[in-house]
Amino acid sequence: MLEAFITGLLQVFDQTTFLLMVVGIFLGFIVGILPGIGSPGAVALMLPFIFEMDPVQAFAFLLGMYAVTGTTGDITSILFGVPGEVVSTATIIDGHPMAKKGEAGRALGAALMSSLVGAIVGAFSLALAIPIVTPLVLSFKSPEFFSLAILGICFLAALSGDNKLKGVLAGGLGLVLSTVGLDYQENIERYTFGLVHLWEGVGLIAAAVGLFAVPEIVELWVKGSAIAETKVGKLGGVWQGVKDTFIHIGLTVRCSMIGTFFGLVPGVSAALSQWVSYAHAVQSTRDRSGFGKGDVRGVLGPGAANNSGIGAAMIPTVAFGVPGSATTAILLGAFIIQGLQPGPKMLTEHLALTFSFVWLIVISNIITVALCLMFLKHLAKITQVRGSLLIPSLFMLIFLAGFANTGSYFAMATTLVFGVMGVIMVNHGWPRPPLVLGLVLGSLVERNLFISYEIYGLWFLTRPIVMVTFGVALVVIFLPGLQDWMAKRAKLQEEPGA
């Protein structure tokens, strides 16, 4: 095994392979920084180019691209409040306020370095975890996947402060919206109003971009200033951001582990791991007052989780042919093109190739972070540009995002509709993240709920992991309120005459 591990490393440093990886990184950088043009689309677009490559070269090209999209996706989240990738949305919560406070450099430094730590943790998990986690993943059935998705929504609802009802309701609305389109079992239209464009459901990218980016554009215009409300100065401390990663290394590694765990569970969105990591960052901190206003720990958590899932998502893909994410589902196509069969052979005959994936993810991320750190000054300066100059580009990008995802102009209407919803939600204290997560997880929840009910009836709710997961969900929702109530009660009892 050690020999295969070293052979995998040497294969990456083959001249052509290395060059193709750099080309992939370059393309991934562009794709990641463009909101909405996600890694699945980019990898799919590049599949036709790998026919002439050998397997290591092909995966160097594709994994180089895939590995950096999450990292660079964080850049637009921080600088513009526009997620470059769906998996980069959680970075906005604290990253963008940091940019507005003139700490764009620090936020970017933290996001990049935590991404690198996450990538390394995730990649080596790919090497180490297969024999350990396989029984765990295999023990998960539909009821467990269903309960995990509900837990994810509850985590987000718990972040809605005093508005937990609004948070849960927004998550529920997301799930209801996810039912729009053709029912995959009976091919019957649901809530489509006869529109063919809605058969595929509500465009996720268009909806996410509308909900998150349009309110930012409106705010930018209403304020009439640049994204950064204060001068960046000497970039607001890139190295401080890098140092922050190591000051909070415990949090970074824990969030990397969360990203790794969610990454290796097939079908669970990488976006979920980012949000759960954010929730963990908040809940594991005593003084939470800075979160949502520009706390660097709110950047480190999602940043680490974002990239750690990449290596982890390869585990079920390589070992079982079960993709752990949308992009790995497309990478399965690359396996077929290359004449490779995911499964036991990848762990025996092609073990060196499998280990080369580990090295590719690590080396791609090191190169990306080094490049980003070199050019960060120029990237951060974008926040100083007048808002009115950014708005046309942002309009073009948000509409391109929806269009690129579906190839239909209808997505632009979806972006507008969700943009209006986003503005209303922001103005009236409704949290947007649970809505998006409900939309992301809707089909997964539906499929798993249906299968669970068909196989077990309502008894699926009594399965141990399901009970534990729902128990955690209830604690997450009700515990902070209960603590507040108990604290108030204790205070009242202390006050004489109260």
Partner: protein, 181 residues
């Protein structure tokens, strides 16, 4: 004001979710399973939210609850006159729709050339030079960056299709690019 809007949103949600649940009743069992399984609880929560909003509205003022906790992604900006905020919100909403319609009619490349120019010069009061240079950059990004480098298919827009043209710009740009190749 906020409470009145909350009540309005609550009424809208209850209405929409009631319709969604009612609509699902007529579908086959498998099709309606999830919409109903999720629809009823969400409808119940919407009713709870509406009832809570109404209760807050009916409570005496001294018990008035403070503003709802903000969306973690939202934040308070500088304090502006509400009339100015309304005016600017309407302006930018108009431009959002204008960009969407413009891109639909002109496509991304020509739309990227025309729409930013108009916005920057007439709305943002930028100079013609800045507006045109900026728009040219947007066009180059779409034409060279996406269409040529990434082979990303960008439609020509409904006007070009209506006129039976391949695209507005390709008649000028393609010969130039062919020469450069």
């Amino acid at each position: 004001m906020r409470n009145r809007t909350d009540i309005g949103i609550g009424v809208l949600l209850v209405t929409l979710l009631s319709w969604a649940v009612w609509e699902a009743q007529g579908w086959p069992a498998r099709t309606r399973f999830f919409p109903l399984a999720i629809g009823y609880p969400v409808l119940a929560m919407a009713v709870m939210h509406l009832a809570y909003s109404l209760w807050l509205g009916l409570r005496p003022l001294r018990f008035e609850q403070g503003p709802a906790a903000p969306d973690p992604l939202a934040e308070a900006g500088p304090i502006l006159d509400p009339a100015v905020v309304r005016k600017r919100t309407l302006e930018i909403s108009f431009w959002a729709v204008a960009f969407a319609v413009g891109l639909y009619l002109l496509g991304f490349k020509v739309g990227g050339l025309v729409l930013p120019t108009i916005f920057l010069h007439y709305q943002a009061r930028e100079t013609w030079v800045t507006s045109l240079a900026y728009s040219l950059g947007v066009y180059v990004f779409f034409k060279i960056g996406l269409e040529e480098a990434l082979s990303f298919p960008l439609p020509a827009g409904q006007i070009a299709y209506g006129l039976g043209l391949y695209s507005f710009d390709s008649y000028l740009m393609d010969p130039i690019l062919n020469l450069l190749r």
